[in-house]
């Protein structure tokens, strides 16, 4: 089974919410919709579910036009950011509710409820009421209810956003295997790049109502098809520098000229935008091919496994990610080396400049 959006556009009160999106999602796949608030994630999910009609374009289910077919004629389950359970029903009955609606037999219901509860670690809680559960347990119940009926389409709209950090981390770890079991078309919206990486599967990067890139998650991360895709898929935010390539050199800003090394060695003369994530910038030690900038530490944020060092340079402030705890004092002068072999280079339209692979 597959659902396709074909050139779908949504305009609400004169404002474009979704613009010309084409996307096919298939059974057995995890599809992550990644983008900031208002990127169009929820709107796309509502279209797939048949809750809304697009202003333009078509929605195809298994190749057949299903535009405007209401949700109750499709097999859909949804998990929201807010924990939604029936407050007067036990965990067991909450999970069983879609099966009772579908009039399944009692022993079949019992088998399926126990299996879903097992996958989500809810067996000891089946007799409890939602208000007796922690937030994480409530959301596990909602997820169990969504996957128990083997719906064709299961939608997750930022399901972990309201959970404590640590619970979010634990559920994130478990979700990929839980979801792989479901065998439905899974669509999962999130604002967080790390969540997309952990879920794996396929990722669609979204920006201002447009689909920017869609493909296997690690590929979208490591080989962005545009500067917007790299921006959406970077946390800390993508560092960017405008460079002018001329006669084998790069001009950065007003008065800094450095040798064009690494990927910038092969590009033709012109104006480019160089993008690099925080782990491609390091302090002190140069890379085999580096673009080096001098600056000062503006701020060092220790997060545990990593330290985010904000370095102020003549070209702006860049965030560099150092492993472990790194004690950098604000004001300390440093040289920031950008890995010129792995940085992204985009032309003035935001498209990546393809470098011929060295044979």
């Amino acid at each position: 089974m597959s659902i396709s959006l074909e050139n779908v556009t949504v305009v609400t009160m004169g404002e474009s919410i979704v613009t010309d999106v084409s996307l096919t999602v298939e059974r057995g796949s995890i599809n992550v919709l990644l983008g900031p608030t208002l990127a169009g994630k929820t709107t796309l999910m509502r279209l797939m579910a048949g809750l809304d009609r697009p202003t333009g374009g078509r929605i195809l289910v298994d190749g057949k036009d299903a535009t405007g077919v209401p949700v109750r004629e499709r097999s859909v389950a949804m998990v929201y950011q807010q924990f939604m359970n029936y407050p007067s029903l036990t965990v067991y009955e909450n999970i069983a509710s879609p099966l009772r609606v579908a009039r399944l037999k009692g022993d079949e219901i019992d088998r399926r409820v126990r299996r879903a509860a097992g996958v989500l670690g809810l067996e000891p809680l089946l007799g409890r009421l939602p208000h007796q559960l922690s937030g994480g347990q409530q959301q596990r119940t909602a997820i169990a209810r969504a996957i128990v009926k083997n719906a064709d389409l299961v939608l997750f709209d930022e399901p972990l956003a309201n959970l404590d950090y640590k619970l979010r981390e634990e559920l994130r770890e478990e979700l990929p295997s839980i979801l792989r079991e479901a065998g439905s078309i899974l669509v999962y919206a999130t604002t967080e790049p790390l969540e997309a990486l952990l879920l794996g599967g396929l990722t669609a990067t979204l920006s201002q109502g447009r689909l920017v890139q869609f493909g296997p998650t690690p590929r979208v991360y490591h080989a962005p098809s545009s500067i917007d895709s790299a921006r959406v898929f970077s946390d800390p935010p993508l560092n960017e520098i405008t460079v002018i390539k001329q006669d084998g050199s790069l001009r950065l800003g007003q008065d800094l000229v450095v040798p064009a090394v690494g990927v910038t060695a092969a590009i033709s003369d012109g104006v480019y935008r160089v993008g690099f994530r925080g782990d491609l910038a390091r302090i002190g030690m140069a890379w085999p091919a580096s673009i080096s900038l001098s600056g000062r530490v503006a701020l060092a944020e220790i997060s545990g496994s990593e330290t985010f060092v904000h370095v102020e340079t003549g070209l702006g402030t860049f965030v560099c990610v150092e492993r472990g705890v790194s004690m950098r004092q604000p004001g300390q002068p440093v040289v920031l080396h950008v890995d010129a072999d792995r940085a992204f280079v985009f032309d003035d339209t935001g498209s990546p400049v393809v470098i011929a692979p060295s044979a």
Binding site: G135, D164, E169, E301, I302, G304
Partner: protein, 337 residues
């Protein structure tokens, strides 16, 4: 009991975070400081003066909550000026102070805009500005202020908070369940669980030397590997393997202990070290993390750059100086001679 007895001195000019899971008592503690709750026992002193029974408005405290608290129909400038007008400050003085705070928060260009038209992030900055604008603020309290902010904008707002902290020399206390927010914000983090303070330390210390197993687990993503072991002198026995501890622990009763080490200080290689079963390797973008099994114990470890691991068995190495021993959840120091 929501909160067990706590003694702590919060100092002028420092940034503190209260960190812990839901229900740990962090918000209760914040509310006691702000005067929204009166403690059943004990006292709250501001500069030595007892304020335990004083209401919030008499404590000169400014607060920022999860959701922006501003007047939607007023402009940004009017919002910032409001607390000063209420105190009948002179017009010229109000104008100067509002300009100063707007500059600090990058709101100068928004001063004449209606608050309603702002993004959530800008609204949260206005909430912050309304708190900061009063010159007599004794402390600035934050209750999960970044919850509703997009990840990319959190970076901006976090650096703004630090800049404000440096510029104004204020006491700031920040409540959150989010370790990244707590560690990046605070000079000192108070880790709480079940109404108790487990450790008060700098972010670096919490990461590098957790004094309680819960701190080890709660800080770090994923948290510390914690494994039940039998410790005899300088060796920990885990599922038939001997792990060298690099220090002697002669006094542990029956040898019953838990060893703890962070995934960041454990690495995986195709062979050598402790033999473990590889369960899964995750590409997290800028690092690779392996989930492995040692007998019944699940362990997270780093996969160093350039190392390739197939399925099956691999070798785990743990940095000895990063390996800790806990008894009854508390850190036990060994003899490193």
């Amino acid at each position: 009991m929501a909160l067990h007895p706590i003694n702590h001195v919060w100092e002028q000019g420092r940034a503190y975070a209260l960190l812990g899971p839901s229900g740990c008592g962090k918000t209760t503690l914040l509310n006691i400081i702000s005067g929204l709750i009166f403690p059943s026992q004990g006292r709250v002193l501001f500069d030595g003066k007892d304020v335990t029974q004083l209401p919030t408005e008499q404590r000169n405290i400014a607060q920022v909550f999860q959701f922006p608290v501003i007047y939607d129909t007023m402009t940004v400038g009017e919002n910032l000026a409001f607390p000063l007008k209420n105190r009948r400050m002179e017009r010229a003085a109000i104008k100067a102070r509002v300009a100063e705070i707007a500059d600090l928060l990058d709101l100068t260009n928004d001063l004449s805009r209606r608050a309603r038209a702002l993004t959530v992030e800008a609204k949260q900055k206005v909430s912050l500005g309304r708190g900061l604008v009063r010159a007599d603020v004794a402390a600035m309290l934050f209750d999960e202020p970044l919850t509703v902010i997009d990840p990319a904008l959190k970076w901006h707002l976090r650096s703004k908070l630090k800049a404000v902290h440096r510029a104004l020399d204020l006491l700031m206390i920040y409540v959150t369940h989010d370790q990244v927010e707590a560690l990046t914000f605070a000079d000192e983090v108070v880790v709480m669980k079940d109404g108790r303070v487990l450790q008060v330390a700098s972010p670096a210390q919490l990461f590098e030397r957790p004094e309680h197993t819960f701190v080890g687990y709660f800080i770090g993503s994923p948290g510390m590997n914690l494994i039940a072991a039998k410790v005899s002198d300088h060796v920990a026995h885990v599922s038939g393997h001997d792990i060298e501890l690099g220090a002697r622990y002669p006094k542990i009763k029956n040898g019953d202990a838990v060893i703890g080490f962070r995934p960041d200080f454990a690495s995986l290689a195709p062979e050598g070290g402790i033999p473990v079963q590889v369960r899964r390797i995750e590409d997290l973008g800028r690092r690779r993390l392996a989930r492995v099994a040692l007998g019944p114990h699940e362990i997270f470890a780093n996969v160093p750059e350039g190392v390739s691991i197939g399925g099956g068995t691999a070798g785990l190495s743990i940095q000895q100086d990063r390996l800790f021993v806990y008894v009854d959840d508390e850190l036990v120091l060994g003899d490193r001679r």
